[in-house]
Symmetry: C2
Subunit: 390 residues, 2 copies
């Protein structure tokens, strides 16, 4: 039985990044950038105005200036005004490269074609060419996660189809003849299949592409037939990784040609997790309980998804335990918790949790706390996966 850290090391060793591809800018948010992005020209590419107002010769004093022209956004830069002259400008207007200063329209009065500059301290700097970056400068490094701010910068430099990591293609098989659909009324002995919508939501949140799903009985033959010929980067098999004769995930994976690297992990919940590979394809057998599913996803599946997309694995953060420390177990326990921000601190309240089939606290959870057997002066490690509020 491997420790959680040992399973992570195995995942890091066995899971390789998928080849990157050029993808239209509209589809790259949440992906990993797979190339360095350089400024395609100076940033800004030309000196321009940050205000609506007037361009005057550099060093001008309050007084009267003759309006000799205007520079509209989208037009060429005007000639520099000569002594006693003003040129009307707008936010974004091109400006001469040097020899001018700006006054805001609020600090002026226009009488006919005469601009009266009222305030002595009104001179505003020009937004000079290359003041943010020079042409060719590296603005974004390969490997970084693309958020909305990155999208804006990619757009600015014309990276309309950057090279990014692909969305991971996932196939999911639910096993278990006790499962019925969410819309069905389960008879005695049956339960609704909550793992399928749970995994779909977790995969969508992680930017993965759930391209195949089926539900089969727990018979190994059915499961093998269900997954044979399916193309995916990542296979997830729900339910059945315990020792019983109706639990055959390991056998399913072996018959499909996967090599099992770990079949048991010192973790509560999640002990019967299976991790396997077949060439560059990755598979997990996830214990059937929904909370085990949730925990195994955040601890192990998410790590494999990150590796497949070439991201560094998400890191745990250290938080302060606010509520009662949950009872430690022989196995390291991952406890659902709500982490909140208070006066610069990260406080974690463990949520009520009865057993690994108990989901009632999960909607409030934004983190999993790592509760080991050793105490560490009030700090615990946590995976934060939800929004942080006060």
């Amino acid at each position: 039985m491997l420790s959680v850290d040992e399973v992570w090391a195995v995942i890091d060793r066995e899971v390789l990044a998928l080849p990157s591809a050029r993808v239209p800018l509209e589809q790259v948010c949440g992906r990993r950038l797979a190339e360095n992005i350089c400024a395609d020209s100076d940033l800004p590419a030309f000196s321009r105005s940050a205000i609506d107002g007037y361009a005057l010769p550099a060093g001008s004093q309050p007084g009267r200036y003759r309006l000799v022209g205007e520079s509209k956004p989208g037009g060429p830069a005007p000639l520099a005004p000569r002594q006693g002259e003003a040129v009307k400008v707008f936010t974004g207007s091109a400006l001469p490269e040097s020899g001018i200063e700006l006054v805001m329209v609020e600090d002026t009065t226009l009488v006919g074609d005469e601009v009266i500059v009222d305030v002595s301290s009104s001179a505003k700097p020009v937004r000079a060419r290359a003041s943010q970056a020079k042409a060719g400068e590296v603005l974004l490094s390969g490997g970084s996660l693309i958020g909305p701010g990155t999208i804006a910068l990619l757009a600015t430099v014309g990276a309309s189809a950057p090279r990014v990591s692909p969305a991971v293609k996932v196939a999911h098989l639910s096993t278990g003849s006790e499962l019925v659909s969410v819309s069905q009324n389960p008879g005695l002995g049956f339960i609704r299949d909550s793992n399928t919508p749970l995994l779909a939501a977790l995969l969508a949140e992680a930017g993965a592409d759930l391209s195949f799903h089926a539900r089969v009985s727990e018979r190994v033959d059915d499961a093998v037939a269900g997954l044979e010929g399916i193309e995916a980067d990542l296979f997830l098999i729900s339910g059945g990784a315990s020792v019983g004769q109706y639990d055959g995930t390991a056998e399913i994976l072996q018959r499909l040609g996967f090599v099992i690297h770990s079949a048991k992990v010192k973790s509560r919940p999640g002990k019967p997790l299976i991790f396997a590979t077949r060439g560059s394809q990755v598979a997990f057998g996830l214990p059937g309980n929904p909370l085990s599913h949730f925990v195994c996803f955040h601890l192990f599946v998410r790590r494999a998804l990150d590796r497949l997309t070439g991201l560094l694995p998400r890191k745990m953060i250290a938080v302060l335990l606010a509520g009662q420390r949950p009872e430690p177990d022989l196995r390291e326990t991952w406890w659902p918790a709500k982490i909140r921000a208070e006066a610069g601190c990260l406080l974690a309240d463990p949520l009520p949790w009865r057993d690994s089939s108990d989901l009632t606290g999960l909607p409030q959870a934004n983190a999993l706390l790592r509760i080991g057997s050793r105490r560490t002066n009030g700090l615990v490690e946590a995976f934060l996966f939800g929004h942080l509020e006060p």
Copy 2:
């Protein structure tokens, strides 16, 4: 000119929640739940086993038991074993309501039809009917945000189409004849339209539905024609909310029948923000600079989206300033920053930022710091919008 807090109060007063609707479970992640969800039966609905092993009569000691049957997951509960008898069970098997205890298969040896129970401390509790919730108990309150954990609980109780807030329908108009598409090479005086992909990414992240986009010149007639007859809950107009004659967002909105509630806000960047309504429809005029767009989205548009979906507005958190305090300005400043977790603390490093057209630091930012003119013992307020890591 209103303060940021005053604009928030106006948004909270003017923006009403859209009517909710029943939506298939696969589409509700990230939405707001608009009804209370109750347990449709006891949770669990029947007493069941959490292990693979054997059911013995309650109070049994180590010893030899005769295997008299088995209970498979998905089948009915077996009769309780009598003294000296054992029934094979699997994880999820239905169990008699009382009178039994469980032993794990690992703690037994099976010889023919005889189960030898080895360990005296091996008795495991049954996962009893209603131990998590009773039928009819409220499990989820209307108003809560639906995450993957919520999805699992909704699925468990058969809420296959819960009542949720709708996705907000958004129309976006970019104005400005200096703009070219991201894939075009801008000539002198022109810039690429980075606001359109930026807003698309921010709206997607917020779960909104960008159903219309167009780019027009800054002529008021073109913009009015571009938006006339468009159906949306939220209208966003990019560029042009300054005082210049080429900046006519206020006029566009008024000609379209909107009432302007705020046309200037004491905020850097973002001063020329416009907030308007037309009946239940909401509109913002966003200053053309990408960073202003980014800040105004997180400060104001996001708040209106939350109100439209009936969510409480996102709250700021208090963080510790790690780097140099940015230079305060006359206006309250929202400074891009990277917040990280360190030993239970939230530390904020302000990022380099030259002016409101400067995007180069934004890919690293996961927060905006509120830098006012008053110092407050090292703590600053922040909107955290990105992932938190060590």
